[in-house]
Symmetry: C2
Subunit: 122 residues, 2 copies
């Protein structure tokens, strides 16, 4: 995986998003133990404190949980992850649609654009 951070957003926010996607996509399995704060910090090439902040954020969302001195684990709540995936997908579509509308495109124009562009994709 590539930890490519843009400067548009704070790094810890991008880390949260990155890990969230790893969970949704199934790259991280339910209940799986994730690497330690220090290890993840090295992988992502950020400060341990920054990684720590991201992980605590994910914890607030109940996407990961901690066993004090044994490590961190992905949630075991499958229904929750499924819902997260559904919500994520829906949000992407809605955001996409809104942005296309914001530059003055009609629904039909958007659909045409999508059909044309999707053809060239894998």
């Amino acid at each position: 995986m590539a930890w490519n951070f843009s400067k548009e957003q704070s790094i810890y926010t991008q880390i949260v998003e990155h890990i969230k996607i790893s969970i949704i996509s199934g790259e991280y399995k339910l209940g799986e133990k994730i690497p330690s704060v220090r290890e993840l910090a090295v992988t992502a090439a950020v400060n341990p404190n920054t990684m720590q902040k991201a992980l605590q954020e994910l914890e607030k969302m109940n996407l990961v949980f901690t066993q004090r001195t044994s490590g961190r684990f992905i949630t075991e709540d499958k229904a929750m992850v499924d819902k997260l995936k559904e919500d994520f997908a829906k949000k992407q579509i809605i955001d996409f649609y809104k942005k296309m509308k914001s530059i003055g495109l009609t629904k039909n124009e958007i659909i045409n654009f999508v059909e044309k562009t999707f053809g060239e994709m894998n």
Copy 2:
């Protein structure tokens, strides 16, 4: 127009985006004079310096130009704005597609999802 800033990004970046969209959508017409820094700052409820920074950013992109003490104007280059619109739309589709793929959806799943969700939209 609503200047709704999220805390996810820096304000001046969001202002740049906001005005850029206003240009692309035609809300701001080619060659049109835009309000002064101070005026825009009041409208957006930000500091004049922040607005200034955003406008200078737009100037670097050649989307607006300055006449020293007379004010700022939208570019008169129609081809450029047209291209900007095309690029913007394409970017939205590509970004959307990438994100949907990132959570493990196949092309067909994405298409189905789009068809289903687009039906409920205006």
